[in-house]
Structures are given as structure tokens and as C-alpha cells.
């Protein structure tokens, strides 16, 4: 058991954050007398927080590379508003609208990326400007709201997968299958990674921990799946979108040359450049990507609201940035993982949901969220300091 303790001690951070999520979930489960984890609430937890998770995926990369993006909320409102106008005023079909909206998002990212990467203006300033510019443009475009969006478009955020596989008792078959595939896939990839570590004689986690970790994760996914399958309507479409984005971008960040360059540039820009990394192009790509993801968030927010709203997306950037930092992304860059940011986003989401169920005053909700952010990062720093001295 000693090995286990030592290993846990060395990886406080990773397990600490998961434990924090569990504690918060349990706390609210008790406080709300079990209402937090009502099947229908789980579905809406995902739908309500999809935007944080999507933005946090891009934001992790931005912060790891040593930048920040304050404009994502405004960009989401701008792109969302534009989408609403395309649908309502120009009567474009929904898929064309989505494509154009994504393209516009990428262009917005390219615009900001240009100033940051090629002119050399700090991202803080460029995106602060972008925050104003795109909020302004959103208001110019939309006025206050553009309502009356087609049902297909609204289904992106509000829709569910149809019960294609029928029901097992009360439970939606398709949801169960998706959950099982998810668990199997995760177990398989973890096992493969572990095997590779062992093959190269690198220290893998002790078997006890490995199995325990898998079991816990599988149980979590299993429980969520089961509850979802019992919910009124099965798997939200958004869950698939978010899931796919997480998979794709985790792969990009961990396994591709581009991902490695993001870490290299964030860790030591000079050294990266002298190793032949094109830091400018890397920065540019990161912001194009962030613009694209902001567009996805904008589409989903607009779709969920059923209308283009000029004031949509206010404070989205703060939620995304907070999710990254809670999830262990380093303020100075160079360190951070998508999985961590996703857990950070879930913590924020559970807080949002639990506090609303408890009907806590929104003003106090902000206070509490602020304190949680502070506490999470403080824990991080303290645990690191201890790690250094032992």
C-alpha cells in the first residue's frame, strides 16, 4: 500500500481535482435532497454547460501557449447573432448557416491571430479589443434579439437522439449503448497507454491505482449513462458534439506535432524557435482554432435560446478561463490538459446547476464561484510547493 500512497502523494493535483468534483456533486446532491442528479437535470446540466466545455477546450490551448483570450463571449454572441440573421432574414438552410457561421468564427480568429502572431501585440490587448469590437458588432447586427429560428437549428442544443434501439425497461437503449461504447473505448485506450509505458520501462501507475481509476471512471460514466437513459428523452445531441470535440482535441494536443508545438512555445518560446518551431504560425493557428470553437459555442447558445441575442455570451470568457485554471492549466503557460479543463468546466457547471436548484441569489452564486476558483488554484499552488520540498 506504500507504493500507492507515494504515488497518490506525487499526483495530488490530478486526483485532487476529480475528488473535488465528486465532493461538490455529493454536497449538492445532499443539499438539494437528491434533485441535482435527477435524470432530467443531468441532461440539462450538459446542455447548459456545453458552451463552457467547448470554449475551455480552445482556451486550454491558448493559455498553454502563453496567451489569453478575452473575446470568446463576444465572438460567440456575434457569430450566434449572424447565424440567427442568416436563418431568419436570409432563410438559409440550417446546415449552410452552421457552415458559414463556423467559417466566420475562423475568420474572426484569423483576424485576432494576425495581430497577435504577426504584429506581436499581446493577446490580452488584442482580445480585449476583440471583446469590445465583436460585442459592438453583435449589437449592431442583432439589435436586441432575432427570434423565430427553425426547429432543426434549435435541435442542435435542445434536441436528443431518437430512441433508435428501443427501450430496455424504462431505459433508452441507444443511450446505454453509447455509454457502454464510451466505457469500453476509454478502458481500451488507457490499457494501451499503460502497456506502452511498461514496454518502455517507464513508471506506470501501480496496478491497484490503475484498476481503481478505471473502475471509478467506468462507474461514473455508467451512472450518468443510466440516469440519462431514464431521462424523458435520452441522449442530448450536444453531448455527442462535446464528446467528439474532447476526443479530437485531446488527440491533437497529446499526439500531434501541432499539439507538441503548442506546449513547446508556451514552455520556452526562444528555445522552441531555435528548434525550428514556427511560433508565429503556431500562435496564429491557436487563435483560428479558438475562433472556430467560439463559433461552435455561439451556435449552440443561439440554438438553445431559440433566438439570436445581442447580449448572449456575456462572461463566457471568464467561465472558460476559470475552468482551465481550476483544471490545472498553468497561468504562465506550458502546462495544461484538456481533461483537467473539462473537469474544471464540470465543477463550474455543477455549481451553477446546484445553486440554481437551491434558488441561491445570482449575486451570491458569483461570490461562491469566485471563491471556488481561488480555492482550487490555491490548493494547486500549495500542493506543488509541498511537492518541491519533499
Amino acid at each position: 500500500m506504500n507504493v500507492v500512497r507515494e504515488y497518490l502523494g506525487r499526483n495530488v493535483r490530478q486526483y485532487g481535482i476529480v475528488a473535488a468534483l465528486l465532493v461538490i456533486v455529493l454536497l449538492f446532491q445532499v443539499l438539494t435532497e437528491g434533485r441535482l442528479l435527477y435524470p432530467d437535470n443531468i441532461a440539462s446540466l450538459i446542455q447548459q454547460n456545453a458552451y463552457v466545455m467547448i470554449l475551455a477546450i480552445g482556451m486550454v490551448m491558448v493559455i498553454v501557449a502563453g496567451h489569453i483570450d478575452l473575446s470568446v463571449g463576444s465572438v460567440a454572441a456575434f457569430v450566434g447573432g449572424l447565424a440567427a440573421i442568416m436563418l431568419v432574414d436570409w432563410e438559409l438552410p440550417w446546415f449552410a448557416t452552421v457552415l458559414v457561421a463556423l467559417l466566420v468564427g475562423a475568420l474572426v480568429g484569423a483576424w485576432q491571430g494576425f495581430w497577435i502572431a504577426y504584429v506581436g501585440i499581446p493577446a490580452f490587448i488584442v482580445t480585449l479589443a476583440g471583446m469590445l469590437i465583436f460585442r459592438g458588432l453583435a449589437i449592431v447586427l442583432v439589435g436586441t434579439t432575432v427570434a423565430g429560428l427553425p426547429a432543426e437549428f434549435n435541435a442542435i442544443a435542445g434536441g436528443y437522439l431518437p430512441p433508435l434501439l428501443g427501450f430496455a425497461g424504462q431505459a433508452d437503449g441507444l443511450t446505454l449503448v453509447i455509454g457502454l461504447v464510451g466505457i469500453a473505448g476509454l478502458a481500451w485506450s488507457q490499457w494501451r497507454a499503460r502497456r506502452a509505458l511498461i514496454k518502455h520501462q517507464l513508471t506506470a501507475e501501480p496496478p491497484v491505482i490503475f484498476v481503481a481509476k478505471l473502475v471509478v471512471i467506468a462507474l461514473l460514466i455508467g451512472v450518468v449513462t443510466y440516469w440519462l437513459s431514464l431521462s424523458a428523452r435520452g441522449t442530448p445531441i450536444v453531448l455527442l458534439i462535446v464528446g467528439a470535440l474532447i476526443l479530437v482535441f485531446s488527440f491533437v494536443l497529446n499526439r500531434t506535432v501541432f499539439g507538441r508545438h503548442v506546449y513547446a512555445v508556451g514552455g520556452n518560446r526562444h528555445a522552441a524557435i531555435l528548434s525550428g518551431v514556427n511560433a508565429q504560425r503556431t500562435d496564429f493557428a491557436i487563435f483560428v482554432n479558438m475562433g472556430l470553437l467560439a463559433a461552435v459555442a455561439g451556435i449552440i447558445t443561439t440554438s438553445r435560446a431559440g433566438a439570436g441575442v445581442a447580449a448572449a455570451g456575456t462572461n463566457f470568457e471568464l467561465d472558460a478561463i476559470a475552468a482551465c485554471f481550476i483544471g490545472g492549466t498553468a497561468v504562465a503557460g506550458g502546462v495544461g490538459r484538456i481533461s483537467g479543463a473539462m473537469i474544471g468546466a464540470l465543477i463550474m457547471g455543477v455549481l451553477n446547476m446546484g445553486l440554481s436548484i437551491l434558488a441561491v441569489d445570482p449575486a451570491w452564486q458569483q461570490v461562491i464561484k469566485g471563491l471556488v476558483l481561488l480555492l482550487a488554484v490555491a490548493l494547486d499552488i500549495v500542493s506543488k510547493r509541498r511537492g518541491r520540498l519533499t
Binding site: 506502452a196 518502455h200 513547446a264 520556452n268 531555435l274 525550428g276
Partner: protein
């Protein structure tokens, strides 16, 4: 041993470290180490890279506070428990770390009094700050204005600023961790004189260095550490205590010669740098490199000698994808055809590689792993055409270099920032050797590397040459250039002032060219 005094009495020791053991997760850096330093002596610490020298000094200076290690520290015979640097400084123990720690954009005066400000009621007293700084700078023999910023100074002068900073405190025991590693012979000699002066003034010095000639020249006693254990303490005034004797203690066996035997087989000319001129990036009128012409043939090892500021690094970096300087002119031929390398990726694509002299700033990503650092400059080789890295192959490559270059890291997944200085240097080398260039420019490749490992690195360089690569070595250690190179260029004030073949290469000859003044 040849102890001059019959028996040490406890009161002779200004400082004793007894039975020090220090563990990091997975690494036992120090095991039961004992170090006893007499009052007023210069005490050297020798040992291979990763032996634990820096760690021992960090324990002593409170960087690793009491409780994070086992064992006892006695200052003037009384137990000391330092909770941090402030505590050790209060006892007059001041450390200058291996990696310099000046704030680049504060003036030297401010740097000297950083954390120790000359102020009244929290308001800086600029008059005293400046005048005292000027006095301290004079004391260490640095002719710079107190307003200058370290970013405008070379490493040699920065080192002197560090010493001035140490002297601004009440110092009894001054610890210098590889102070001359980054210095050329002239600056080193100056520094050693300074240390002798301090000894006259009654300041005890502990010095860590891989340059054994300096140690035999300056130290009174030397403690040898190997694999985290004290091996022995030798009295350098005793008989028969030579460099070779120290090496035997460090490595555990005698080392027959400092340079492996090597005969180069020369091939065609691989690289020709012609009429290369580079201007300073800020002061764009100033020529940093002035019409330099250099050729290297396949299988040849060519040296670049020069004093600090001669323009060797600037020449190399500007050739390597214009990484330094502005208004660069001149021509670059690779295998006879002219090439243009305007950025680093083009340079790498043309088969050039440049291993930097400043590993911390330009060479490594300290928060990434050994594996990731080794693969950065040639990730393409480990990735599919659409950019997915083959992780297993990458790990395999990194592991191969860890073993070949004997990088002392528990695994290739260790974070580079936690390796000892010399082992970090080996990671830099691995990275460029892995990129498999045709021309490899090594800027101070053995800086901070122990004698045994130096021998290994010379072996690696020779093997690279035998594999038909053209190697350019920039070094401030003339014996190294003479022992290693087939041909040596000397630079002075941005110009190539001489070219000396191996047969004629002597330190005097090289020095003559290196100090040649501009005549035009």
C-alpha cells in the same frame, strides 16, 4: 592523506555539514555526505554531473530548508537550522547559484541590492544605492556604470555583478556554484584573482567547478563527491595531489587522457560562409560580425576561438536561420551551391544545426520531459505526414539517447528542469544529434560538464565527424579546441583574424590572433 595539520580541532571549522541525506521523489541525491570547511580557506567541491554538488550547496544555503533533509549543519560549531535563504544569509553564508539569477531589465545597482534595498522608510535611497554599487563594482573590478542593465552584459560580467551582490551582504562564507563555467580564460583568471583577494580578506569560499586546473590553482582543499556520497577530502598543498588524482576520486578510476585519439578523414567542402556581416539588432550601425569567411569539410572538426564579444555566437546564430542580428549580408554555400536560410526551419531543412551556449534560455523547455526536448527539433521524423506523433518510437529514441549519452535521469519522462546542469547540456546535444544534420555547430558544448562526460562528448563529436558530418565547435577553453579540432579559426572584434591548423595550434598562437585589434 597528506594532511598538513596533525588533527583538526572543531574550532578550526567555520562550517560543518554532517551526515547529510537528501531525497527527491525517486532520486537519492545525497547520502550521508560530510563536508568540513576550515576558516579562511578556499574549499573546492568536485564530482561528476549529477553527483549532488549543487544540491549540497542548496541544503547549506537554506534553499532546501531544515526538515527537508537529514543530517546536521554546524556553523562555528553551533547547530544551524535554516528555514530559508534569509536565515543562512544572517549567518553570513551567501550562495551564487549555477544558473545566474539577475533581473535583466533592472539596473545593476538595483540588482545588487535586490531584497536588501538601501532605503529609508521604504523609499529607495538612490544616492546610496548608486554610490555603494559603484564601490562594489570597483571592488570586483567591473568597469560598468551602475545604471547598466544585465541584459546588456555578457555572462562574464553578469557573474561579477553576482559577486558584487554577494559582497553587499555581510558575507563569511561565499559559495560559488560553477562560477567560471560560462567564462573564457581571461575572465576566469580575473575571477580567480578576485577569489584570492576575498580569501586575503578572511572570507571563506566554497567553489564548485569542473575546471580542475582552476581548482588546483586556487583551492586549499577539495572534497570529492560521487553518486551522492563523500569520497574523500584532499589537501591540495599536499604532495602528489594533481588533477589526475582528483579525477581518480571523481570517476572511481584513473582517466588515461583527456581527449580520445582521433584521426579525421576529410571529404568535400560542406559549408562555406562567405563575407558574412551582421549588425547588432538594436544598435544597427554596429557590425558584430564583419566580413567573416569560414569553410568546413565533411568529417572535419573546426574550432572557433575568441574572447568574449568576439562575435562567435553571433556568427553562428545568424547563419542558423538569421536567429540573431539585423542587416545580415554575405553568402552561404552548402555542398557548393548557394543556400538561403532565413529562418530556423529553413536552416534545419538545409541540414544545419546549432546547439546553443545558453541552454536555459535558448536550448531547453525546462518544464517538459527529456523525451519531448530531445524530439523537438526533428519531430517530423517521428510523425506521419499529417502530423501524428508515433509515441512509442519517440520514447524509444529518447531512451536510446539517454543511454548513449549517459544522461542521468531516472526515466525519459523526467522533467528536464530537475536534472543537474551537465545532464541538461547532454539533453541539448541529444536533441541536435537526433536531428541528424550535415553541419553541426556546437556552442560551448562542454560548458558545465565533468571531465569524464567531456571525454564522452569528445567521443560523440569525433563519431559525428567520422560519420561524415561537418562540425564547428565554439569554445572558450583553448585546450579543448586544440585537443579536438582539425583546424581553428580565431575571431576578434567580429573578424576572422587567423586560421591555425592542428599541427601549429598552441594557446599562445591562438591568443595572438584572438587579441588582434582592428587595423582598418
Amino acid at each position: 592523506m597528506n594532511e598538513s595539520k596533525a588533527e583538526d580541532r572543531p574550532e578550526d571549522f567555520v562550517l560543518q555539514m554532517l551526515g547529510i541525506t537528501k531525497e527527491f521523489p525517486g532520486v537519492k541525491a545525497l547520502q550521508d555526505v560530510t563536508l568540513e570547511v576550515r576558516r579562511g580557506e578556499v574549499h573546492a567541491i568536485c564530482g561528476e554531473n549529477g553527483a549532488g554538488k549543487s544540491t549540497l550547496m542548496k541544503v547549506l544555503s537554506g534553499v532546501y530548508p531544515h526538515g527537508s533533509y537529514e543530517g546536521e549543519i554546524l556553523v562555528e560549531g553551533a547547530p544551524a537550522r535554516f528555514g530559508g535563504i534569509k536565515d543562512s544569509e544572517a549567518e553570513g553564508i551567501v550562495i551564487i547559484h549555477q544558473e545566474l539569477a539577475l533581473i535583466p531589465y533592472l539596473s545593476i545597482a538595483e540588482n545588487i541590492f535586490l531584497g536588501n534595498e538601501r532605503a529609508s522608510g521604504g523609499v529607495l535611497d538612490w544616492g546610496t544605492t548608486r554610490s555603494e554599487a559603484a564601490r562594489l563594482l570597483a571592488e570586483v573590478g567591473l568597469a560598468e556604470k551602475p545604471e547598466t542593465t544585465p541584459s546588456d552584459l555578457g555572462v562574464g560580467k553578469q557573474q561579477l555583478v553576482e559577486i558584487a551582490k554577494a559582497l553587499s551582504k555581510r558575507v563569511n562564507v561565499l559559495i560559488l556554484d560553477e562560477p567560471t563555467a560560462a567564462l573564457n580564460d581571461e575572465d576566469s583568471a580575473h575571477l580567480l584573482d578576485l577569489i584570492r583577494n576575498l580569501r586575503e580578506r578572511g572570507i571563506t569560499c566554497i567553489i564548485i567547478s569542473h575546471k580542475l586546473n582552476e581548482i588546483t590553482a586556487i583551492a586549499d582543499r577539495v572534497t570529492v563527491i560521487r553518486d551522492g556520497r563523500t569520497i574523500e577530502t584532499l589537501d591540495l598543498h599536499g604532495e602528489g595531489i594533481t588533477e589526475d588524482r582528483i579525477i581518480r576520486g571523481m570517476v572511481g578510476r584513473p582517466l588515461d587522457s583527456r581527449f580520445p585519439d582521433h584521426e579525421s578523414t576529410l571529404g568535400e567542402e560542406v559549408l562555406r560562409i562567405e563575407d558574412w556581416t551582421v549588425h547588432h539588432p538594436v544598435d544597427t550601425e554596429r557590425k558584430v560580425v564583419d566580413g567573416a569567411t569560414i569553410t568546413v569539410r565533411a568529417g572535419e572538426i573546426v574550432g572557433l576561438a575568441g574572447l568574449m564579444g568576439a562575435g562567435r555566437t553571433e556568427l553562428a546564430m545568424s547563419v542558423f536561420g538569421h536567429s540573431y542580428g539585423t542587416r545580415i549580408s554575405g553568402r552561404l554555400y552548402k555542398g557548393g551551391t548557394e543556400i538561403h536560410a532565413r529562418n530556423v526551419s529553413q536552416a534545419i531543412a538545409h541540414g544545419l544545426a546549432y546547439a546553443t551556449e545558453d541552454r536555459k534560455k535558448f536550448g531547453l523547455n525546462l518544464i517538459q520531459t527529456v523525451r519531448e526536448n530531445i524530439s523537438t527539433s526533428a519531430l517530423g521524423k517521428l510523425a506521419s505526414w499529417w502530423g501524428v506523433i508515433r509515441s512509442e518510437e519517440e520514447a524509444g529514441v529518447a531512451e536510446k539517447y539517454r543511454q548513449d549519452f549517459r544522461i542521468k535521469a531516472p526515466t525519459v519522462e523526467s522533467v528536464v528542469g530537475k536534472l543537474s546542469g551537465g545532464n541538461q547540456q547532454k539533453v541539448v546535444l541529444s536533441k541536435w544529434v537526433f536531428s541528424d544534420p550535415d553541419v553541426l555547430i556546437l556552442d560551448e558544448p562542454t560548458r558545465g560538464i565533468d571531465v569524464g562526460a567531456k571525454y564522452e562528448i569528445y567521443g560523440i563529436i569525433n563519431a559525428l565527424a567520422d560519420a561524415g558530418k561537418a562540425v564547428i565547435v565554439i569554445s572558450s577553453e583553448l585546450p579543448e579546441l586544440i585537443g579536438l579540432c582539425d583546424r581553428i579559426y580565431a575571431m576578434s572584434q567580429g573578424r576572422i583574424t587567423g586560421e591555425v591548423p592542428r599541427e601549429r595550434a598552441t594557446q599562445e598562437e591562438l591568443m595572438r590572433y584572438m587579441t588582434m585589434e582592428k587595423t582598418r
